[in-house]
Amino acid sequence: MKRLPILLFLAIELVPIRVGVAADLPQAYDSCSGNRGAIFRLANSLYEQGQLAQAEAGYQFLLDMGVRNGYLYYNLANTRFRKGQLGPAILEYERALQYLPRNRDIRHNLEFVRNLMVDEELKPVQYGGTMGFIIKMHSLLNLRENLLGLALLLWMTAILYAWGALCPDSGMTRRTGWLRVTLLVLLLFGVLSAGIKIYQNERQHRAIILVAATEVRTGPGEDYSAAFSLHEGTAVKVESKRPDWVQIRLPNGFTGWLPGKDLEVI
């Protein structure tokens, strides 16, 4: 049992993954033998040497292998920005923030890149006071952390309440009354927070415009008139999808249809 973590480490870090390596990776990565950690480190090194296309290929390869984490998205975003791809960079920063919502570097670079956008950023309604504090707490954790915290809270609450049911007259039960109520409140907050995030993850899709400029039309087709235009990097909410066309909505309420190839869901 004690060897399990070591075996897991070996499985993740050291066992070469050769599926598709030779076909997709540039030659620079031959020495990595499909080792994911080695590919990531080499891609970082290539980025620092200014070989951006090679670095991007490394990061992209890891993504193609199914690796998902905030640092990978962040480094890929930086690479794409330095290659002059504004929209794809913002897309990857947004993805990185979903994994690392408290990371200041990601927020800084995203803000930096957004300043170069053509369209003015449309921010949602900002709340202050208690509501603002609750929203801040809600956005402090990513979905994974939220769910793990929820599970921990659930166990702690269940243990305390079970103890209270089995030993109602014990000193511990009397002393932990407030703790139980506090845990219950935190639990409710956690459930609501996780529920909102799951809903957003499943139903509310945001997307980023990837092309320099695109016309938003009143219907799903080129024969519909253009309602307004959007530029690279602008975030939109996806309302519905048709083959080749996507209905989007802006925070200010503007809505219309775009070719599906002009944007990508975060």
Partner: protein, 616 residues
Amino acid sequence: MREHAWHVCWLIWLSFLFGISAGKATGALSVNVSLEKTTAHVGEQVGMSIEITSDKGNPPVPQVPPVEGLSFHLLGGGGIQQSFQIVNGRMSAEYRRTVNFVVVAQREGTFTIGGVRVEDGGENATGNAVSLTVVAAGAPLPNPMANQPPGGPTQAVSSGTLQLMAQPSKTRAYVGEAVVIRYFLVGPQQKIGEVNGIGDFGNLTTGLFKRCVVEELPIKEYAIQSQTMGGRPMGVVLLKHFVAFPLSAGTLNMDPATIAITVGGIRSRFFPLGPSQTVNVTSQPFNLEVIPFPEEGRPDIFDGAVGEFNLTATVNKRELREGDAFTLRVELSGKGNIKNCPPPTLPDLSQFEQYDNTKEENISVVEDGVAGRIAYEYVLVPKSASSTEIGPIRFSFLNPKDTQYHTLATEPIHLQVSARGEGESDRILLGAGAGAKREIILTGEDFRHIAVGVPGAEDVRLDLYRQPLFVLVVLLPFGMLGGAMMWAWHRRRLETDPDYARNRKAPRMARRMLSEARKAVSSGDGDKTYAALTKVLVDYVGNRWNLPATGMTARDLGRQMQQKGVPDECVQDLMITLEDFEACRFGGAMNSNLRSDLQRTEDLLGKLMAIKGETA
């Protein structure tokens, strides 16, 4: 029970909070401009209020466009009020900021203040236009309020035996001069001693107070003082203490104030106990004549300061290197309308680069006005290396005691600035008043580097809720909690319900007795065997169907079981078996029958248990 109530309260609170977030904010950005009056004299101060309403959390501060012939001075305000509204089940939030200005007319004419503009997140709004007609100083104003006769300084209206008395410190004052207004409760000492509660002054925001900047000196404790009035000892309690600074000239009317007084009952920490009576007491209205600033001897730089003030100016260093920053600190202190008066007039500072200014206030309301100090700090950097000088800093005010204008001027400050040598580092700004400490200034903001030395190849799954193991981990506590509650319920019922306890222990007891019967069969002891077998059946039936079986005959037991709805076949079988065992026990039995009777008992017990869904 109390705990459940707490849980429900928390749930309601959380539901309320999230209800707010669920509702989408509605409404739009709007600006409403209002003047306290539409006519004024030259030099008179007129209050202007700008109210910004927005559906966003932080309504912006408005920008007032310049109007030739008028000067605007920000008075303050700017606090944000928040309100929620529920319409058709949807909650909307509205935020309101009110900013107050004083408008001073510099010449005659009719002025239109329009184009007050706010901008919030790409949304613009422009306020309504308001007009102000300015006439020469001393000319009559078409203001109906000005025609009312001035009231007396101390008036009171009786309400039973208690009276509310309004006492202004003066009935004639300059614009901006401090007027202390006190409200006393007066009555016989015994009656005053019976007062248990004092209501709010609900209507003081109208009338005079609407046209003044008002500060309140909080009353820490209602102390009863004795005074002789009309030869009678009376109790006097100071209820309110205000300091008002009139904003405009004219006769200001103070409306009567009404408060509710609770008399009688027993004093309690939270509310009066016992019989009590509430009476309303109302003060007499009074007038305050506000006179404009005298024209004679008015300095150019005078901007409405009234009181007695002092002015000092210092720098944190006089010998500098070229490019070094220093702090000029100008401190205005004294008593009067210091909170609203403009900053001192600075000399020409064109030989310096000027950075962000800071303002530090230490002002408090005192018995006879408002006093304190305001320190303005200016971070300056000399543009070139030479001897230079900061000229006199000046401040003018009207002293109401001698009705004269006074102008304060500081001594010039000489600075020695030396040139910076070759290769010396660029400028480092010293923070305001920071002495030798250096403030770190961000000179460049750039794109940040990639993340290295991080677990960038790990796969982090956000959607844990899709993983069966996680779902199991989340569901297990519910199972554990349910099990614990069931067990607690079972234990409690065992302790409180004897029938339940007998019922639950019946199969276990029967199995134990059957085991003893087997031992008796093995030993070949007939009496002991039949006694044990009889006990197995009688005890099980008694416990299971809650019958007082001990001491009953087999027939009685059978009758009782039939009444409990046990099938006749089982009842008959039981009765016959028990009678047979009794006969064997007292009539003697063959050892060879012992085993078959044990088997017979086991079979019968199995049938009885099957009725209750158990196994022997």
